[in-house]
Symmetry: C2
Subunit: 371 residues, 2 copies
């Protein structure tokens, strides 16, 4: 970061099924909570970045920047960013560049998605917009299908068993029990994961993050301080279709974004105390830990076999237990890591958020300057 | 602008019906043209901003940043921005802030839309995503309907006749004749405008910009120079629904963005030699000229009654004759103004692009440093 930018406010709705609330209602709830949490009033916000993936298709609503702007009395300039399930962290990256550019001093970032109003078929089809419509959709692939292929290949290459893989969702569900905003707050033993319906072999329903509604908001500023400073923000891009990749068992965009983020923050991987990683499917969490360098290739599962891994992994419950309203997830990860750093009084936390099969990867590093 | 940023390359596809080309094909064509036009090679591009409004809904394709990135051999980081029909200029604003932030040195902006693959009903419904889904859609409004109401009110307040209003589309069609990339290159006499089918009284078909496919791209850089410098970039936001506005006959977001843009460029309105303004409907062009201060309220039509107005207005043909692939339009305006400045050797040009009923307004000022 070429200047000090602080996270001065945060808020979110519970994630889950909100049939009684519109996109605007969800944004309003998260935005109000973030402003209440910040040492400013609404009029100090001079720009808004909204993240959302599916509104045009599932809610008949594009142009969410202007809708969010109308929530504030002075209607500051506002835009929307999108990069599939990485939309939230891409919005944060955009907000940071606006602050660094001198075009704004205090920016509201709000991520929102409302997915449960449409059928499972429709939401599955809409989510395939994150993949390559020319290559992946004609083949009949869905995202569970893509990650089922990835899981099969990973098991073939590294000998991972389904019993081992079950530990991922079990851990995330255990972590979600204590998160009041999580969609699912029930502990689920590892052996029950395989008993859930098969979705895309070897992945069962409980290997998959759910369809969710929700919003999360943060306020970033370079003229108001707080203990939480943004230490790095990096994006990386890979091929949209997995059919163009040399390997199914590693996501190079994660490695690239990580290397640049650690360099930007001037820290090493060992300095990270808390990690929120993009566990859209259980196998993704395993691969992510390897690409992030917290485990060797094939050994990611060991961090789920250990009782108290370092860093902590998805202490919020991750996408699996918290829910995954796709436009909100990247923002929510940063909300949760801020809480974790404040509670633990540790210094660094890392948010890893991706879109599609990691065709867009975003990494943010937060620093607790009080630690 | 807090630093010198230059437009070093530009390109576009012809706008029109491209049933044989995908979103990716259209982007590729515009991007290749822009790179060929620039004193760089593709590897110099270190970030991409894509603008698109409807891909998720009409083309089953979100995540267009990653798709655009795959067009270049080194796949630079890429995001998508959206603000309805202002998506293109919002992408330019985002790219400029990324350059000013120091996070990039040479950015490709590519706007794309492919609207003709779906039915008229479907595209009309999709475009209503630019309005307020809670207030405008339930009332049965369409955008022709919204601007029909605006035209009726304007005629009531100022006595504008339909015969006068016809001059707007006639002028834009006349201008489009010499633009090889325009969707329509036929001169249409003013009296023929009213003979086209009535769409939303008093607006006829030829008062409305068409449904179009196309892409436009520019390359912006702070480490390569060209004669065309970006002098200002400003956004402003208004209520999403026109039902929340005090007046139907003026768009305050235009005035606000203009005031800030003129201040940023350190020029006055009189310095502007060429204007491209957002004539999604004929009445919008009239109102825009008033909000931009080139005419008094009620007198915008006088600039169409004059033979050679200053500044030149939509010399490209505007949205009416060029076509309006919504995500591409804001970028295309800047492509055309660059050509106009280079040809005329005048110094300043202004692009005025809006989304919805001017719920998002973006203004860019270009400076020809050779003039």
């Amino acid at each position: 970061m070429n200047q000090d930018i602080f996270l001065i406010g945060k808020g979110q709705t519970p994630f889950g099924e909100h049939w009684d609330k519109s996109l605007k209602n969800l944004m309003d709830e998260a935005v109000t909570a973030a402003i209440d949490d910040a040492p400013i009033n609404a009029l100090d916000i001079d720009f808004i970045v909204v993240s959302n993936m599916l509104g045009e298709r599932t809610n008949d609503q594009a142009h969410l920047g202007a809708m969010a702007s109308s929530l504030l009395p002075h209607r500051p300039p506002a835009i929307r960013t999108e990069a599939a399930c990485a939309s939230g962290s891409v919005a944060v990256h955009t907000a940071l560049s606006l602050l660094e550019s001198g075009r704004a001093e205090t920016i509201l970032v709000v991520g929102v998605e409302k997915m449960t109003d449409v059928s499972t078929d429709e939401i599955s089809s809409a989510l395939m917009g994150a993949a390559d419509s020319e290559k992946d959709i004609p083949s009949g692939l869905t995202f569970p299908g893509i990650f089922g292929l990835i899981a099969n290949r990973y098991m073939h290459e590294y000998g991972l068993t389904k019993e081992q893989l079950n530990l991922v969702s079990a851990r995330h569900h255990a972590n979600g029990v204590s998160n009041p905003n999580a969609q699912f707050r029930s502990a689920i033993p590892a052996e029950k994961i395989s008993e859930s319906p098969n979705v895309a072999d070897p992945l069962c329903l409980l290997d998959c993050s759910p369809v969710s509604d929700g919003a999360a908001a943060i306020i970033l500023s370079n003229n108001h301080e707080s203990p939480i400073r943004i230490a790095a923000s990096q994006l990386s891009t890979d091929t949209l279709s997995i059919t163009d990749r040399p390997s199914l068992t590693s996501f190079p965009a994660t490695k690239d974004a990580l290397d640049r983020a650690l360099e930007e923050a001037e820290i090493t991987r060992d300095d990270i105390a808390h990690l929120e990683t993009h566990d859209c499917f259980s196998i993704a969490a395993v691969i992510n830990l390897e690409d992030l360098g917290f485990a060797n290739p094939g050994a990611g599962i060991q961090l789920y076999e250990a009782d108290n891994p370092t860093p902590t992994i998805n202490a919020s419950g991750g996408l699996k237990a918290c829910g995954h309203p796709v436009g909100a997830t990247g923002v929510k990860q940063i909300v949760d890591l801020t809480k974790q750093l404040t509670t633990s009084n540790k210094r660094y936390a890392l948010a890893h958020n991706f879109g599609g099969a990691c065709a867009t990867c975003a990494i943010h590093i937060l620093e607790n300057t009080d630690a």
